[in-house]
């Protein structure tokens, strides 16, 4: 019978790995920053910038290495995370290089060109990304280090206030100085503490979700279950008080509340978290002068711009966004260098706002949004509870960081002095965020990898007989 040749069999076709999609997007993501670089060069000097070829090759090489490693070690990983991160990093490099060219900034005593350093840090970041993918074969290994990572995160957070090691830079004590390099341990603590939260909540989620009393429509947890959330709250307040760093404390506390909510599905945690952070913020704002200045600059920067640097910066930033308009002034043709100090780190988003306008700002926010979306998608697709919580924690931290910086720069919330992931000048941030993307890619590889075929079972014996 010829039926055999024509039989349709339904079997699982190989799940697409989407690596070629990633390669195409990656080529695109390298081409866009090169175009931006050309645009800046033409606008500033009227000629094709001399470093264009080297810069393009450098970025392309880094992206290529990252892609090959993903192809080899994380075949089924999400195809969007790497191109999105590469694009943001490349555009950040262009924006930093553009600000390096500004004569106004170069005239300042506290300014040093950053582009070369940033390219080096990006390469280090990619190296860490590669390292994460090669060493971390399975993210569930991290589960073993739940409590060790809590200790490590605490140590990382305390390091900046250790005398002799910490460096007080412009009011915030979030840096440590090691042999000429200043490192921001908080950026790495963000990842380490996500390990602790996910490991802890995975074990305790049932106790937190079920053993609760109902009070005024909210489920209140038992006192002993409340312990950890109070500890984290107190810890983030202590960071705020001793290190004057509103951003980091907001990040940690917000991340914990997000993960609690995801683990327990109880809205009451969000309500409690918001109340506690609001309470904490009010208390600290009325005591710490550093934070108070930021709050004043947020409420009305134009009143105090003569007397306070924070206010003056804020007015410049608002002007920058305003003069950008809808389509922007064009790369290299804005005056965002008037912001002066920290124009290429905390305030780099203002340069986007002026030179690319609202259209560009929206595109950048969407790029961040897509990274976060892929992170949450990874969490949804992950098969193990630890991976789910870990992916949610990392993408939640990323989202909070983008919100805190972009919101601060645009005057939505008080400015907190965090770095825009991948865009801002600063080694720790770029390196830590590449590691974060590496872990997300590892989890998404595990999540999207097709499930192993079930063991063949003796079919006939297991057929149950219907009894009338």
């Amino acid at each position: 019978m010829s039926v055999v040749t024509n039989t349709t069999t339904i079997g699982a076709i190989d799940a697409p790995s989407r690596r070629n999609t990633e390669l195409v997007l990656l080529a695109f993501a390298v081409a866009i920053p090169v175009f931006a670089y050309l645009n800046v060069g033409l606008a500033l000097n009227g000629e094709v910038p001399s470093g264009m070829l080297g810069y393009g090759l450098g970025l392309g090489l880094m992206a290529g290495v990252a892609h090959i490693v993903v192809r080899k070690f994380a075949r089924y990983a999400d195809p969007l995370l790497l191109p999105l991160a590469t694009l943001l990093n490349g555009l950040g490099l262009v924006l930093i290089w553009r600000l390096d060219q500004s004569p106004r900034l170069n005239a300042r005593a506290d300014f040093a060109p950053q582009a070369t350093n940033q390219l080096m840090y990006s390469a280090l970041g990619i190296a860490l990304f590669v390292g994460v993918l090669m060493i971390l074969k399975d993210h569930r290994v991290l589960q073993r280090f739940t409590y060790i990572s809590m200790a490590a995160a605490l140590i990382l957070l305390i390091l900046p206030i250790v005398p002799g090691l910490g460096a007080d830079v412009f009011g915030a004590k979030i840096w440590i100085r090691v042999g000429g390099f200043s490192i921001q341990p908080g950026e790495f603590a963000k990842i380490v503490i996500a390990v602790f939260f996910s490991g802890y909540l995975m074990v305790k989620r049932d106790a937190l979700a079920l053993a609760s009393r109902r009070f005024m429509g909210l489920y209140l947890p038992r006192g002993r279950d409340l312990g950890p959330i109070l500890t984290i709250w107190a810890m983030s307040l202590l960071i705020l008080v001793f290190e004057n760093d509103l951003g980091t404390s907001l990040l940690f506390f917000g991340m914990f509340v997000i993960m609690l909510y995801v683990a327990t599905e109880r809205t009451s945690w969000i309500v409690m978290g918001l109340l506690m952070s609001a309470g904490g913020a009010v208390v600290v704002a009325s005591f710490a002068g550093h934070v108070q200045a930021r709050v004043n600059a947020w409420i009305d920067p134009f009143v105090c711009k003569e007397t306070s640097v924070a206010c003056d910066q804020m007015t410049q930033v608002l002007m920058t966004f305003g003069s950008g308009g809808v389509l922007g002034t064009g790369l290299g043709q804005g005056n965002s260098d008037l912001i002066g100090f920290a124009a290429n780190s905390d305030f780099i988003f203002a340069t986007v706002g002026e030179e690319l306008g609202l259209t560009g700002v929206m595109a950048f926010l969407l790029l961040y949004g897509l990274i976060i979306e892929r992170g949450i998608r990874t969490a949804l697709a992950a098969r193990d509870p630890f991976g789910k919580l870990f992916a949610i924690g990392l993408s939640g931290a990323f989202a909070l960081q983008v919100f805190v910086v972009a919101g601060g720069v645009m005057g939505l919330i008080p400015l907190t002095g965090m770095t825009m992931p991948f865009l801002a000048a600063g080694g720790s941030s770029v390196i830590a965020n590449w590691a974060l993307i590496g872990i997300l890619i590892r989890i998404s590889d595990t999540a999207r990898r097709p499930a192993p075929a079930p063991a063949p079972s003796p079919d006939a014996e297991m057929t149950q007989v219907v009894r009338p």
């Binding site: 997007l25 645009n39 191109p83 389509l327 922007g328 595109a363 790029l367 079919d459 006939a460 057929t463």
Partner: protein, 171 residues
């Protein structure tokens, strides 16, 4: 650099940036609505066609059968699983025999405790009329509440029950 060039570059850059965002969203879209079983069936059939051309003698009967199927007006074109764990699965009917059962080489592998490993088959006869035949299963195959004893033609829209699974032929 002339004003015009810079304006074109400025707008061009924004366009390229947005193009990237749109392409990325398209990738997400194709990720969400990836493979569909119906497409797979028809594609596989298209792939096997060259092989058929290479061996015309062996494949003549099914081709004739397919033509006969096409010629019949109102003949069913697909098999749809309407109940059970495979609900929503469709298989294009293109003149091939469809076997149902728990065995791994069945066309439709039933994950159903009440189905036998080789439970039933559905095939077209010479006129292109689809026939269902019980293959000696433990719990029987039901066509619209009557247990099958002989190969029976399938009226359009009649449910065929196999264990917890119900299938139908549709146009």
């Amino acid at each position: 650099m002339s004003e015009l060039t810079l304006t074109v570059m400025r707008l061009g850059f924004l366009a390229v940036l947005w193009l990237f965002v749109i392409v990325a969203v398209q990738v997400i879209r194709s990720d969400l609505f990836g493979t569909r079983v119906t497409q797979r069936g028809s594609r596989r059939n298209a792939e096997t066609r060259p092989q058929q051309a290479a061996r015309p003698a062996a494949t003549a009967p099914p081709q004739q059968r397919q033509q006969a199927t096409r010629q019949r007006r109102g003949a069913p074109t697909k098999l749809v699983v309407t109940e059970g764990s495979l609900t929503g699965t469709t298989v294009a009917l293109q003149g091939q025999t469809i076997t149902l059962g728990r065995a791994h080489d069945s066309t439709i592998v039933l994950d159903d405790d009440y189905a036998s490993s080789r439970h039933a088959r559905i095939y077209p006869d010479r006129d292109g009329q689809w026939i269902v035949e019980d293959l000696g299963s433990t719990n029987g195959t039901y066509l619209d509440r009557t247990r099958l004893t002989t190969p029976t033609p399938i009226p359009p829209g009649a449910p065929i029950r196999i264990g917890k699974t119900v299938i139908e032929l549709r146009k």
